[in-house]
Symmetry: C2
Subunit: 184 residues, 2 copies
DNA sequence: GCTGAACCATAGCGTTGCTATGGCATGATG
DNA sequence: CATCATGCCATAGCAACGCTATGGTTCAGC
């Protein structure tokens, strides 16, 4: 129903499944609980996608590859992505969302430890910047404000700008990030 | 009702106004039309806020000041900001939103023309990057994912990174952007 | 074979957005 | 001045929404 852009109503949901509306309440405790489960599933899929990103010997490439996987996941199921970041929604298992973010922090830390970034660069700050910028671009694309074609080039240049500001050599950085987008 | 975080229902809206539900339909054509008008009002206010940003002789400072005004406006009325970028909503007058963006593009173009940025820097691309990154940070703060305290420093460093990548001298750039946040 | 708990189908409540209808102004026209 | 046309809104009611109370069904454990 999300993919078909149909309004997700309780009655339409159980229609055809042979179950009645009560089944939703016994299993999810109501409509908000169902949405919470949907978001949970979204973050679970996202975490699985990020976990499947292979580790290479280029930490900056891997950091960018996480961003690529993030964007691809979001664009594959835009409605799910919007549901994940829907307002006024509390996530039952916040660890799922944190796990994805921690992977980004770890990649940034590795890039720093391997000498690609300045020694005083904060991986957490950098990861937050990359994530927020990517989230902003993906959000605008997902809801049609920006065309999908600009996502790759804009995310690339923004990521390169952030990493270069953190100490990486711009030319080498751009090569790593562009390789990640080409591979993904 | 937005500020009080009450659910905006048609019946609750007309209660106390002496009018009936039909008034909403004659003036707005229904509930979607009313939300469209709310978003319109949001963009109108945003445009007014950005128009009130004074022009100095530092184009980079002015560009950052637009970002500060944007963030301040969003955080003052978080529910209005969320409504403005709500999914599945078509804006009646798209020119209002474009007007705000054009101010950002103009500021970037001025920075380039005054020699702060590289001659081949594209103002439109840079403006889109700054806007998307700011939108991402503001969105995450507005819905409580990130704490409000990180907005100023993260927006500052991201903006500096993007402008530095576009050719500005990092130290001078940071001074300009930080001055904008201190003034706003 | 009995008991207790878990689960769900049925029916119905209150509220939602929305529409059909009719009454009441106001302003132009003869 | 009388008449009609038009725009606006109050009333009443409809279909659909999320949700709950109730009772029937199923199945594991003793």
């Amino acid at each position: 129903m999300l993919a078909a852009r149909e309004p997700v109503t309780l009655r339409a949901l159980v229609e055809g499944t042979g179950a009645s509306t009560m089944a939703v309440y016994t299993h999810f405790g109501g409509m908000p609980g169902l949405w919470s489960a949907v978001r949970q599933e979204g973050f679970t899929r996202l975490t699985a996608r990020l976990a499947a990103v292979p580790r290479t010997d280029d930490a900056v490439h891997d950091l960018a590859a996480l961003g690529v996987a993030y964007a691809r996941t979001a664009l594959e199921h835009p409605e799910l992505y919007r549901a994940m970041f829907d307002a006024g929604a509390d996530l039952a298992d916040e660890a799922a969302a944190d796990a994805s973010f921690d992977r980004l922090v770890a990649a940034a830390a590795r890039a720093r430890d391997e000498g690609r970034l300045a020694p005083d660069a904060d991986p957490r700050t950098l990861a937050t910047q990359v994530w927020a910028a990517g989230h902003g671009l993906v959000s605008l694309v997902v809801q049609g404000v920006l065309p999908a074609e600009v996502l790759a080039p804009l995310t690339t240049s923004t990521t390169v700008a952030l990493l270069a500001a953190a100490g990486d050599e711009p030319g080498r950085c751009r090569a790593s990030v562009e390789a990640a987008w080409a591979a993904g």
